[in-house]
Amino acid sequence: MTLDLRDIAVRFGATTAVDDVSLTVDAGEVIALLGPSGCGKSTLLRVIAGLQRLDAGSVSLDGHDITKAPTHTRDIGLMFQDHALFAHRSVEQNVDFGLRMRKEAASVRRARVDELLALVGLPGFGPRPIDGLSGGEAQRVALARALAPNPRVLLLDEPLAALDRSRREQLTDELRRLLRTLDQTTIHVTHDQEEAFAIADRIVVMNKGRVEQVGSPIEVWSRPQSAFVAEFFGHTVADVDGERCVIRSDAVAVDPGGEPMRIVDVIFRGDHHEVRVVDEAGREHRLAVDEPPVVGTEVNVAIDPAAVIALPG
């Protein structure tokens, strides 16, 4: 179950939404397409689903070219942020839809619907109407609906973005466990790095239609290959000894032997305080401390050279 994207390009008039993207997704792998809104990640997803015409490139699944195949023949599951449930059908009719389209036997369908509803934590919800569901429940139904026909690839388009923070964290957790259990090949589109870290085996960071970096969560976070990726993760990009470097957000720490820096701001973050300090060169750094210092005073700070990475080029 390998998905292979080759030199994909999508243009909308003068703007290029997806610019020469190539990517291979292995069987059972969970990929996160991560980037700010407008970076082309959702367009790429629509290309894979066959919902977006492409200007160049090819899509193949297990060696078969499906670039020109219509959506309904691709066997690819898709889940939208606003879930796009069929409002005029019940929960079970929604989940059953893909099975019915595949002309599965009635007994098989019934069993599969019950199985999926149990899997997403909504046993017994079958007969309910869609408009009575909460946001989280609707998302679970949408997930069950997308998974029911056993898609070869599951595409998730910002599925959790509309939920409040605590609900989102809970569902991220469940989703992660579910995808691992099912060994489901998945591409997950998100702008939230924590969500991507929690769910993905590999992260594809996108910017302006291009792939900036591909790697495991730890790799992309700790070894950013471009200023964009570094800043996206909250690191500082600065010139150190005449070289463009990334000063990672974990590089800065209080150290009695370090340089004195002036504290310009202190922000309470719940389990710690975030302190903003300014060095001699006028660069701002952030560090985490337990006890809040006073703004305007100085603190001795050291920068760990191992966490300062030179940018290529």
Partner: protein, 535 residues
């Protein structure tokens, strides 16, 4: 290519129908009117009698519109701002007059005059402009309550709250914040009411008698009674130009005032003071009493037989009266048959048009959408007159055929069918169709599984309205339904009302009550399911 051909086939039906039964007849009227040979155009227009007709049409429409606004706005304010038990009922009751056929409204006002002796003696209102104005107000209050009230009740009230917190009195906040935001809705409903009263035909013909003459009634009299097609055509041109000018001006004005308003769900609150409650009760009672009086009088008069009450008038409906070529019961059968046929035509034509407008090629769809508005803006009289003079020779020689009646009636119903279905299809989130496709639904399966279930209900609603319009249609039918065997209920009522004699009038009342019941039941059934707000 295949899809293209399919869309061409779908679009062809409404285009052919509109061309043959709307553009061609109305075009024929225009050609006749602009090339009037025996009497030149200027000649006819300069006749003082016709100038008086045009002037009367204008001023009665203006006064009717002003009076309608005055009568409707207090109740509109109450319904928009306050939540109370019976609010929905009041709103539903106010709508009833608007869905009544014009002949029923005319009969109801004849009944009021009869009941209170206002058609004889010292105060004689029979065939005066006063009863016409009253009937116009009765008919159009719903327009203002629905359009202005619908908008007002959804208008986010935090702007008023902000004004109040900045020191404005309630009255000041209303005048400086609420009124400017309502301007667009007020203008829209003013334009609609003016258009309705300007093109009012049945009410002026039946309540004004021979003394009152508007452009519409004169088109009818010249075309049908005097067979002076030239003058009728010139009047139709005057009418078309006036209506067109009206539409242009009102859309201009509305475009200038329309802002971007965020609509809230419901701004209404329960009453906070007893004065509010008392004022609301007074306003609602007075308005409903005004609306109920003609209906109650109609029902009362329909049972009035000789010196007492009884079912005599209803029983007489099964018999043939000398005045009518067939019995009223036969006319009812005709009306129902024509109504069903008209609804079927409107469903087929309107359904195809809605599909094309909502899902077909964008630019052509927009053009068709605009083309479908034309029959709405054209008066039924012009339409009927056009069919009368245009569809009298091969290949479209339909004047002797019964089918011309449902066709004319369907033409008026088609825009309602389109307005019911197209927005529903357009409002379906494209992602829902995409989700269905990713789940394995082929394009035709998407239509069947997603579009059809949602559109079916809307289609039923639109077709129901088309049926209700058809069975009550009077303007166009009075031109094309002239064969004795094709008599409809509205035409029967009109004939019975026009004659002196208590017995015939009683039958007109009874027949009106029957038509009123059929119409309101149909509209009630349809309206209950109408979430799109077609009406």
């Amino acid at each position: 290519m295949n899809e293209r051909r399919a869309w061409a086939a779908i679009g062809l039906l409404p285009v052919l129908f509109l061309s043959a039964f709307f553009l061609y007849p109305v075009g024929a009227v225009l050609v006749r009117g602009l090339t009037a040979d025996s009497t030149s155009l200027a000649d006819i227009v300069s006749r003082p009698a016709l100038r008086r007709v045009v002037w009367f049409t204008f001023w009665q429409a203006s006064v009717s519109t002003a009076l309608t606004l005055l009568a409707a706005l207090p109740l509109t304010a109450v319904l928009a701002n306050f939540r109370f038990r019976g609010r929905r009922l009041v709103r539903a009751l106010v709508t009833i007059p608007f869905v009544l056929p014009t002949v029923v409204v005319a009969a109801a006002f004849v009944a009021v005059l009869d009941r209170f002796g206002l058609d004889r003696g010292a105060v004689n209102l029979r065939h005066t402009v006063w009863v016409i104005l009253a009937a116009h107000v009765f008919f159009n209050i719903a327009v203002v309550v629905r359009t202005v009230g619908g908008f007002w009740s959804q208008l986010d009230d935090r702007q008023e709250q902000a004004a109040r917190s900045l020191g404005a009195s309630p009255l000041r906040a209303f005048w400086e914040v609420t009124v400017p935001r309502l301007k667009a809705a007020l203008l829209a409903s003013t334009a609609i009411v003016f258009l309705f009263t300007f093109t009012s035909f049945g009410l002026i013909l039946l309540l004004g008698g021979s003394r009152m003459a508007s452009i519409e009634t004169e088109i009818f009299r010249y075309a049908v009674s005097r067979t002076d097609f030239a003058t009728a055509a010139v009047l139709s041109v005057v009418q078309l130009v006036a209506v067109l000018a009206l539409v242009v001006v009102s859309t201009r004005l509305q475009r200038r005032t329309t802002g971007t308003e965020r609509l809230a769900v419901d701004r209404s609150t329960p009453f906070t003071t007893n004065r509010q409650r008392a004022a609301a009760v007074l306003v609602a009672t007075a308005t409903l009493a005004f609306l109920a009086l003609p209906v109650a009088s109609l029902v009362e008069r329909s049972f009035r037989h000789g010196d007492g009450y009884g079912l005599g008038n209803y029983r007489a409906l099964t018999e043939r009266v000398p005045l009518l070529p067939v019995s009223a019961l036969r006319a009812l059968g005709n009306s129902l048959a024509f109504g069903v046929t008209a609804a079927a035509i409107a469903f087929a034509v309107g359904g195809a048009a809605a599909l094309f407008v909502a899902l077909g090629p964008k630019r052509l769809g927009k053009a068709l959408d605009l083309g479908l508005l034309l029959p709405l803006g054209t008066s039924a009289v012009t339409l009927g007159f056009g069919m009368l003079i245009a569809l009298d020779e091969p290949p479209l020689d339909l004047r002797q055929s019964w089918i011309i009646i449902p066709i004319a009636q369907a033409l008026i119903g088609v825009p309602f069918v389109v307005r019911a279905i197209a927005p529903v299809l357009q409002s379906i989130d494209p992602k829902v169709r995409e989700a269905a496709a990713t789940l394995g639904a082929a394009p035709w399966a998407v239509r069947r599984e997603i579009d059809l279930p949602l559109a079916a209900k809307a289609a039923a609603i639109g077709t129901g309205f088309a049926f209700a319009i058809a069975i009550g249609e009077f303007g166009a039918t009075s031109f094309v339904g002239r064969r004795p065997g094709h008599l409809t209920v509205p035409l029967s009522i009109a004939r019975l009302l026009g004659q002196p004699g208590e017995a015939l009038r009683g039958q007109a009342m009874a027949l009106s009550v029957v038509l009123m019941l059929v119409t309101t039941i149909v509209v009630f059934l349809v309206d209950r399911n109408d979430q799109a707000g077609v009406l």
